[in-house]
């Protein structure tokens, strides 16, 4: 009996990562306790899960942080191949740098191969743009914790929604300026504070100003600096589930990251093909050409292989850490709203200290 391959499988595998390679023919069931005769069909559970996901679609919330002008919006648009982020610099519009960091969340529904994704892009204009950038990460930390709080409130409710709306930040792309020297003090400060509450993926922006050698030197230095300062970016070492994960992630952590990317929303003709790129007098930089930049690696990493993992780490680890702290602070499991008229204790004014 051959497992029916649905039409959507090929497209689905783009967005929903396969946990294990699908068997071409049904494997002989291996029982643990008793001997089974014949095929049961429990391995179709994967198929059922897929169908459900397709129907309900899923949420993904991505935050972008970095100084203005580093190409954050362009990159996100390139990643998701749609205008999901409004570029705050249309060349004919007056744009004033906000005095404090603002948090702007814009949601879009994009669909591919029958799978619907509710994508929310959270922009942070004003970060790192002032003369004095002390504590400019605080509004961001506050926002992240607020989303955890929202989720916690909903979870703790007596009658909860079937599917709790998930506004938690699953992934934070941090844009590093391509100085060629090292990280800037602000980069360190931000990542120190936020890497414990959210998955941070550092990205080297506008990497078309670095030659291959400069790129590799810079990446090495950045990795070393992060290590020396105890900053764990996603994928964090401690959350590798098994050896397979570890080897795959080790390679990414030690060689590829941080990804040196170039973004573009313009197409040019190269060798008869239309490609996304940047046209300069000395050549055309192709965004999806691995010899030119690592955009394709970032895209595959975030969307094609680790999307689900990003969500899981956010839910199982970051959120749980927050929840544990909150409940500990309030002295035990609160009964929730409605019961005995007690509500959750108010969110502390300062961001919750995160567990080591």
């Amino acid at each position: 009996l051959r497992l029916p391959e649905t039409r959507t499988d090929a497209a689905m595998s783009e967005l929903v990562p396969e946990p294990r390679p699908k068997p071409a023919v049904p494997m002989k069931p291996v029982s643990i306790n008793s001997s089974l005769l014949g095929y049961i069909g429990i391995d179709t559970i994967i198929e059922q899960m897929r169908r459900k996901t397709m129907k309900t679609g899923f949420d993904f919330n991505i935050m972008v942080v970095g100084q203005s002008g580093l190409g954050k919006s362009t990159l996100v648009n390139t990643l998701f191949k749609s205008q999901v982020s409004r570029k705050s610099s249309s060349w004919n519009r007056e744009e004033k740098i906000p005095k404090t960091v603002e948090i702007k969340a814009i949601g879009h529904v994009i669909e591919e191969g029958g799978v619907k994704m509710k994508l929310t892009v959270i922009d942070t204009p004003g970060f790192g743009d002032q003369i004095n950038n002390e504590n400019c990460w605080e509004p961001i930390e506050k926002y992240v914790n607020e989303q955890y709080e929202k989720f916690l409130k909903e979870e703790v409710n007596i009658s909860r929604k079937k599917r709790i709306p998930d506004t938690r930040v699953h992934c934070c792309l941090y844009f590093v300026s391509p100085t060629g020297h090292s990280l800037r003090p602000l980069d360190l400060e931000f990542m120190k504070h936020l890497s414990k509450v959210v998955n941070i993926i550092p990205v080297i922006a506008k990497a078309d100003t670095m030659t291959l050698e400069e790129k590799s030197e810079f990446k090495q230095r950045v990795r070393k600096e992060l290590e020396v300062n105890g900053i764990e970016f996603y994928p964090q070492k401690e959350f590798d589930e098994d050896l397979e994960d570890k080897t795959e992630n080790d390679k990414i952590r030690q060689e590829s990251m941080p990804f040196a990317v170039v973004g573009s929303d313009k197409e040019y003709q190269v060798n008869g093909k239309r490609v996304l790129g940047r046209k300069t007098p000395w050549g055309i930089i192709e965004v999806e050409n691995l010899n030119h930049c690592e955009f394709a690696l970032l895209r595959d990493f975030v969307i094609r292989t680790h999307l689900q993992d990003l969500k899981e780490v956010t839910h199982n680890i970051h959120y749980e850490t927050y929840r544990a702290k909150r409940l500990n602070d309030s002295g035990g499991l609160p009964p929730g709203e409605g019961l005995l008229g007690t509500a959750l204790p108010p969110v502390p004014a300062t961001p919750c200290p995160t567990a080591e």
């Binding site: 100084q67 203005s68 002008g69 580093l70 190409g71 610099s89 060349w91 744009e95 740098i97 743009d129 002032q130 003369i131 004095n132 950038n133 002390e134 300026s177 391509p178 100085t179 060629g180 020297h181 090292s182 990280l183 800037r184 003090p185 602000l186 980069d187 360190l188 400060e189 922006a205 506008k206 078309d208 100003t209 030659t211 291959l212 230095r221 600096e225 020396v228 300062n229 940047r278 046209k279 300069t280 007098p281 000395w282 050549g283 055309i284 930089i285 192709e286 010899n291 030119h292």
Partner: protein
């Protein structure tokens, strides 16, 4: 070089101000009485060649914008060989420092003593409030020193350490001037000639460069920041030169790319540039960046003008402000009594500088020693040449 400015009378002879060697006027006016002071420019030129030329250039801007590479490319030196760039954790507590590097460059018999003033740490910290104050203080210190020297008794060997020009690097990754850029420029624009420059300009496509330049120009106007204004062309310059000059003025701020590496691509001649997988940026290609314009403007045509503007405009402005501030109750008597006569220096309460009189003397002596050493070397070289020639003639 401080030259006593005698009024130059312009003679109706097409003299191109670009060439260093000024031709003697043709013997057109032999029927009229020929006085001969039209040869004055030549005399000045010869004097300045002998004396040498010194120039102080300040480079400012965030780290990582290619400042050092550009300086090395401009002056074909390796001034920053032993530089250590501190990493981010070290820079967390770093304050802005002022570094001076000197280099002597000789070309075509002309010697230039170039002093580079660097501002490492600028714009790096998380909190950059007032980080430009040490720079302002430094520039004013040089003016102070010059004011004291000028008012002193022994004015033979005044060392001009005033900053003649400041190359300010703007990031190509931003959307124009950042708040820090504006604050810095506002603080120094009345004290030093500013030439704004867009660093690492190979990050930009041509259209983006144009838009960014226009945005910066608009912002400079809006914030009323005075950058160095190129003097107008003389009306007797030829059309080509005027066109070139106009083009140069329009390309401010200069979008530059620096490189000290020579790239040898197959089939083309070796050029200085940056080699990417998608092509090579040529530093000296005017279609790729404004490096040539900057070099021409800074080194080839306006070096002297920058010094003059520093002396005539900026320094005089400082001096006037300084002396005006002395006109207060208490100091009024002294100030009104003397128009800064040479002998009364000790009475004027100039802002205190920690430089002692002896240090100044030492510096002057050092300069004299250096000059004597040069003369000695020249004589030795001549002797050796003479010997070699003598041997040659013997061989024949």
């Amino acid at each position: 070089m401080k030259v006593d400015c005698l009024p130059l009378v312009t003679v109706a002879v097409p003299v191109s101000s670009r060439s260093l060697i000024l031709p003697l006027p043709p013997p057109l006016q032999q029927d009229k009485e020929y006085v001969g002071f039209a040869a004055l420019p030549n005399q000045l030129h010869r004097k300045s060649v002998k004396k040498g030329f010194d120039f102080t250039l300040m480079v400012a801007g965030e780290s990582g914008l290619g400042k050092s590479t550009l300086i090395n490319s401009l002056f074909l030196t390796n001034l920053y060989e032993d530089r250590q760039v501190p990493d981010a954790s070290a820079r967390l507590t770093q304050t802005l420092t002022i570094e001076r590097r000197g280099v002597e460059i000789e070309e075509g018999g002309i010697k230039v003593k170039l002093t580079l003033v660097d501002t490492p740490g600028f714009g790096d910290s998380v909190d950059c409030s007032d980080c430009w104050l040490p720079v302002v203080h430094f520039i004013e210190e040089q003016f102070e020193q010059y004011l004291r020297d000028e008012s002193g008794l022994n004015r033979k060997n005044i060392q001009d350490s005033r900053v003649h020009c400041c190359l300010y690097f703007i990031s190509p990754f931003g959307r124009g001037l950042r708040p820090l850029d504006v604050a810095f420029l506002r603080a120094v624009h009345d004290k030093v000639n500013i030439i704004p420059v867009i660093g690492k300009a190979d990050a930009l496509m041509p259209k983006e460069t144009q838009v960014l330049k226009q945005k910066i120009r608009d912002q400079l106007k809006e914030e009323e920041i005075n950058i160095y204004q190129f003097p107008e062309c003389d009306s007797d310059e030829d059309e080509d030169f005027k066109k070139q000059d106009a083009e140069m003025k329009e390309s401010i701020p200069f979008a530059v790319v620096g490189s000290s590496k020579v790239v040898k691509n197959v089939g083309t001649r070796p050029v200085r540039g940056r080699c990417y997988s998608w092509g090579t940026v040529e530093v000296e290609n005017p279609h790729h960046c404004d490096f040539l314009n900057l070099r021409r403007m800074l080194v080839q045509t306006h070096l002297q003008d920058l010094k003059e503007v520093t002396h005539d405009l900026l320094y005089e402005g400082y001096r006037a402000r300084c002396l005006q501030s002395l006109v207060r109750p208490g100091a009024r008597d002294r100030a009104s009594r003397s128009k800064l006569s040479r002998q009364s220096t000790t009475e004027i309460p100039l802002p205190m500088l920690p430089l002692a009189e002896t240090e100044k003397l030492i510096r002057e002596k050092d300069e004299e020693l250096r000059r004597m050493q040069e003369m000695l070397e020249k004589m030795q070289a001549q002797m050796q040449q003479g010997q070699a020639q003598g041997e040659q003639s013997d061989a024949f």
